[in-house]
Assembly symmetry: C2
C-alpha cells in the first residue's frame, strides 16, 4: 500500500517516513507557496532516505489566509494548522494513506482525534502519524539511531517548513514577522542515514 | 535499548510489540490478579512472536479497588484505566521504555498527554504507544500483514485481558457482571506470525 508523507526534510518527517516504510510504499510530498522556490536541501534529504519525492504548490489564497490569520491572531498557530490541513486535504485526494511527522509533544500542527475520524469518513483516507505515540526522548533516540541530522534556527537552515514563506509574506506587507513568530524555533535538516 | 511491552496476547499488543521490535529489544509482560491463573494461549502467542515473556501478579488490593470502582461507577472504564496505570507503574520501575498497544480509536485504557509527561518527569520512563498514530483500518491492514489472529467475544477467547478476572471478582461478590460490562466486547488472540 502506497503512503504519501508530508515532508519538510526535517528530522521528524524523515523519521516518520523511515518508520512507515517498513510497512508501506512511501512517497515524500513537500508543499511550497512559491512554485519558483528551490529546495535543494529537502531534495537531498529525500534522496538520502531513498524515497520518491514530489513538490506541490499551494493555491495562492492559502498564503493570503495564512498571513491574515497570523496578523489577526498575533501568533502563527492557527495559520500553521490551517496550512497543514490544506496540505493533508490535497494528499487525501491522491493517496489512501497520508502521513506526517506529528509527535506526542507537538502542539502545532495537530489534528484532534475527531478531525482524523472525519477525514476518514469524508474521503476514506487514513491519516497516519507514526511518531504520535513517541515522546521527545524516544524521538531523539530513534533519529540518532537512524538519521544524520543538522540543527539550526529558522532562517539558518533551508528545509521545507511553511514558516519561512509565511514570514516573508508578512514582511512583504510591511510588518515585522518577529512580532508574531516565536524568537527561537529549532529546525532540523536530514543530511543522511546513520 | 530494552522495552517492556504490556502484553495480553491480543492483536493490538502483539502488533505494537512487533513494530517496536524494529528499534528496541522487546520483552513482553503480562499481568494477572490470581498468580495461579494459567495463560497457555498468551504464552503461545508470545512464543509465536519470538520475544521473552514475563508474568507479573498485581498486589491484591488492586483487584479490590477495581471491583469497587466497577460497582460504584456502574461501568468498568475507571477500573480498567486504574489497573492499566498500575501495570505501567510496575514496568516503569523495571524498564526505561515501557510500551503498550493503545490505538488512536481506543477510549479505555488511555493516558492523557499530561499523564505521559508526568510519568517521564517522575521516573524518567518513556511510555511509548507505537499504534497511537494509527486508526482502525490501518491497524486491521497491519495486523493482517504481520499476524495470524483468532477473534471472539470475552469469555470465548483466553487472552490476558484484565476484564475476565474483574468480571469473576464481581461475580464472587454475588453480583451479575453483565450489568456493569458492555455485552459485546470483541477479543483477539494471536496464534502466529503471518
Amino acid at each position: 500500500m502506497k503512503a504519501g508523507v508530508l515532508y519538510s526534510g526535517g528530522k521528524d518527517s524523515s523519521l516518520a517516513a523511515l518508520m512507515l516504510s517498513r510497512d508501506y510504499e512511501v512517497e515524500l510530498n513537500t508543499f511550497v507557496f512559491n512554485p519558483a522556490r528551490a529546495l535543494p536541501g529537502v531534495e537531498k534529504a529525500a534522496e538520502a532516505l531513498g524515497f520518491p519525492h514530489r513538490l506541490h504548490t499551494f493555491a495562492p489564497e492559502i498564503l493570503d489566509s495564512a498571513v491574515e490569520s497570523v496578523i489577526a491572531c498575533g501568533y502563527p498557530n492557527e495559520a500553521i494548522n490551517m496550512v497543514h490541513r490544506a496540505a493533508i486535504d490535497v494528499l487525501c485526494r491522491e493517496y489512501r494513506v497520508v502521513a506526517d511527522g506529528t509527535r506526542l509533544d507537538d502542539r502545532v500542527p495537530m489534528l484532534t482525534r475527531d478531525e482524523v475520524q472525519r477525514l476518514r469518513d469524508r474521503c476514506g483516507c487514513s491519516y497516519v502519524r507514526p511518531l504520535l505515540g513517541y515522546g521527545k526522548p524516544e524521538i531523539a533516540r530513534l533519529s540518532e539511531r537512524l538519521l544524520k541530522v543538522q540543527y539550526g534556527e529558522t532562517g539558518t537552515l533551508e528545509n521545507g517548513d511553511y514558516e519561512a514563506e509565511i514570514r516573508e509574506a508578512v514582511k512583504a506587507r510591511g510588518m515585522n514577522p518577529s512580532v508574531f513568530f516565536p524568537s527561537h524555533h529549532a529546525q532540523s535538516l536530514v543530511i543522511g542515514r546513520a
